[in-house]
């Protein structure tokens, strides 16, 4: 009966001799080790003991032999399948038979769990700030790292609450929320700013978890913390740097950008968004293609090429370009870029963008002004010269024309030839009179009621010699006045400019015809200058009134003529347009009509 009980038991049971052999072994034990009963009964059991445990097993057997009972002796057995089992023994030497009566338990599972826990615990407490508190928050355990970061000794912390390290940075509610979470069994996570013993602060990423007892009741809390002070400081620093960059960028109107070559992703600073008038989408940065769209059609190929060159060959660039904002506003910007290398490969481009619109406009205006003043200074000098020599020319002219007239009255010679002499005198006199007018160019030209027909005649008399040299015909006929409110000298400059341009245009064409026409419409007075010079490229048509746009080679023109013309025309509330017609170009200036009314005197 005892035999049966012996075998049915789930406990491991055996009877062994002091010389190290099993005499009886129950089924449970046989099953655990996996060997046959015969094998187990014939071999010394030390053969089955883990080599590292043989020595302590032998020692324990001597203790048993000496009559000592074994309680909870642990050793490891190797099973037939190669696995190792932890076994906990309770044995007694039976004095009557001098045999060992032993019961044992397989504790492998517990052992492994404890081992894993121990490792985990060590790993955590060695590397992470670790604190354990009781349910009231009184510290019961801390590791070295917590002592190190807080600056307190272990005995200064045990028995206290976390008030010791409270920095005062967080609100009462902050901790209330935490307590509410962990009391209800939840894990709470957040960054906490704490205070060291020396008063300085540190920031930890904190995880607080409740430890539950068997009944699921909170019995303790464990807090794991990671020092993130440096990371926070770095984040604050880089945010601060970006803030400063954005702020200085705003003041200087300079934006920054970076392009990641591989993805085409652009990074812009706030000011770049502002300069290009692009709405900042939350978190999203633009891509290269969008960036390139923000330039005028004319300048897009230039920036395209510059960016490509920089990305492929590392060529840096610096350009003044016209940007076109999404609202269609054209704006002058300065932008530069350079390649950034990593492992000898270009991985990004970075640079700045600057709003230079005002500066550029001022520059253009200045150049235009200067050109205007150079032109009027030239004319003024010419006028002065004319005034000073007029007397010298007009006296002999008076003699020539006087005698010619006298001879004509006396009727003795060819009257036609005398007419020619007198007409030539008239022409010389007219030119001298015209030139002289420029000497009176005031700094702010006043506008009066002027006759455009007269202005055109005057302009032709001054440009005729040059036109004749280029074999060009200037054609104008008018038998009436066309009054506008304007400045004679300035308008004459406009007409002279247009005629001279027309002369240049027709110079190399077989047909060299320049016609001027005046027309009085219902709404305005129109002056047309029409040439047979082949017309103007469409691309140029838009830009030709801008300063420094010229088709003439160096020394031939400054490219300022038409911009000065436009300046004067606009100053007269008039409009200038250009169209290509059959054989050339047609410039039309539309002046408002002169209004004869009370406030004109």
């Amino acid at each position: 009966m005892f035999e049966r009980f012996f075998n049915y038991s789930n406990e491991l049971m055996c009877i062994a001799s002091l010389d190290g052999k099993f005499l009886h072994i129950n089924d449970a034990f046989v099953d655990l080790l996996g060997y046959s009963r015969e094998q187990l009964l014939t071999r010394p059991f030390l053969d089955l003991v883990h080599p590292e445990d043989i020595e302590k097993t032998q020692l324990e057997m001597r203790h048993i032999g000496a009559g000592q009972n074994t309680v909870n002796f642990e050793n490891r057995y190797r099973c037939s399948d190669g696995s190792t089992k932890f076994i906990s023994w309770k044995s007694t030497l039976d004095p009557e038979s001098n045999l060992i009566f032993a019961t044992a338990r397989d504790i492998t599972t517990e052992k492994l769990a404890i081992n894993q826990y121990a490792q985990l615990y060590k790993m955590v407490t060695d590397n992470i700030i670790y604190v354990k508190t009781d349910v009231k928050g009184v510290i019961t355990e801390v590791n070295d790292m917590f002592c190190e970061i807080s600056g307190y000794d272990r005995n200064e912390l045990i028995g206290k609450t976390h008030k010791v390290v409270n920095s005062g940075v967080h609100s009462h509610d902050f901790f209330k929320t935490m307590w509410k979470a962990i009391r209800s069994g939840q894990v709470w996570k957040d960054a906490i700013t704490n205070r060291r013993k020396d008063g300085s602060q540190y920031v930890v990423e904190s995880i607080v978890a409740p430890m539950l007892d068997i009944d699921g009741k909170v019995e303790a809390y464990i807090a794991l913390r990671q020092d993130i002070t440096e990371r926070i400081q770095y984040q604050q620093l880089s945010k601060k740097n970006l803030d400063i960059l954005n702020e200085t960028g705003e003041i200087a109107k300079v934006g920054g950008w970076e392009l990641e070559i591989e993805t085409g992703q652009l990074f812009w600073t706030d000011e770049t968004f502002k300069i290009l008038d692009v709405q900042k989408r939350n978190g999203a940065q633009p891509v290269l293609e969008e960036g390139l769209q923000l330039f005028t059609d004319e300048h897009k190929p230039i920036i395209d090429k510059a960016v490509n060159d920089a990305a492929q060959n590392g060529t840096p660039y610096a350009l003044e370009l016209q940007a076109m904002t999404p609202k269609g506003e054209v704006k002058w910007v300065y932008t530069n870029g350079k390649a950034n290398y990593r492992d000898r490969k270009i991985y990004s481009l970075s640079g700045t963008i600057q709003d230079i619109h005002e500066k550029k406009l001022a520059e253009l205006r200045y150049k235009e002004e200067r050109q205007r003043s150079i032109q009027s200074a030239k004319f003024a000098a010419l006028g002065e010269l004319a005034a000073s020599v007029a007397h010298e020319i007009n006296n002999p002219l008076g003699i020539i024309s006087g005698y010619a007239e006298l001879i004509k009255y006396q009727g003795r010679v060819d009257e036609q030839k005398l007419e020619a002499i007198m007409k030539s005198c008239d022409r010389i006199a007219h030119i001298v009179k015209n030139l002289k007018r420029f000497s009176r160019s005031d700094s702010s030209p006043t506008k009066t009621k002027v006759d455009l027909a007269e202005i055109v005649v005057d302009a032709i008399s001054l440009t005729q010699p040059r036109a004749t040299r280029h074999l060009a015909d200037i054609d104008f006929f008018s038998n009436r006045e066309f009054y506008v409110n304007g400045n004679h000298i300035e308008l004459e400059q406009v007409v002279i400019n247009l005629i001279n341009n027309a002369v240049d245009a027709v110079a190399k064409k077989p047909l060299k015809q320049i016609s001027l026409e005046l027309k009085d419409t219902d709404s305005d007075i129109q002056l047309r200058v029409i040439d047979t010079g082949g017309g103007i490229d469409d691309g140029l048509k838009i830009r030709m009134f801008e300063p420094f746009v010229t088709t003439k080679t160096e020394n031939m023109g400054t490219g300022l003529g038409l911009s000065v013309v436009r300046g004067i025309v606009e100053d007269h509330d008039a409009k200038i347009e250009v169209e290509n017609i059959e054989q050339g170009a047609e410039f039309v200036i539309k002046f408002p009509k002169y209004i004869e009314e009370a406030n004109h005197g």
Partner: protein
Amino acid sequence: MANLVYIDDEVYLTDIFHSLFKDTYHELHTFNDEYEAIEHCLSNPPDILFVDYRLKRMRGDEVAQRIPKDVHIILVTGDVQIDTDYKFDGVIAKPFKLVQLLHTVDGFASH
């Protein structure tokens, strides 16, 4: 009929005046020297005095100021800009048309 005086340092111009007026019923005295002319005008005030602006030693307006007030004084000048406060009764620009001179004189004589 009118009494005329013309002062100009250009001999040819005074000659043209002579040739123009010699067959008319007007009486013309011309001078190339302004002092002689002023002397003449003081003793025989003309109806009309034609005077050039740049003379040998004086300017036309300076001459005009020395001439009796009731003489009608016309400036005849090749200058395109004259800097003077003196109000001439008329200005004829050189090169002048002969018919212009005749009209000026006839216009005055028919007053």
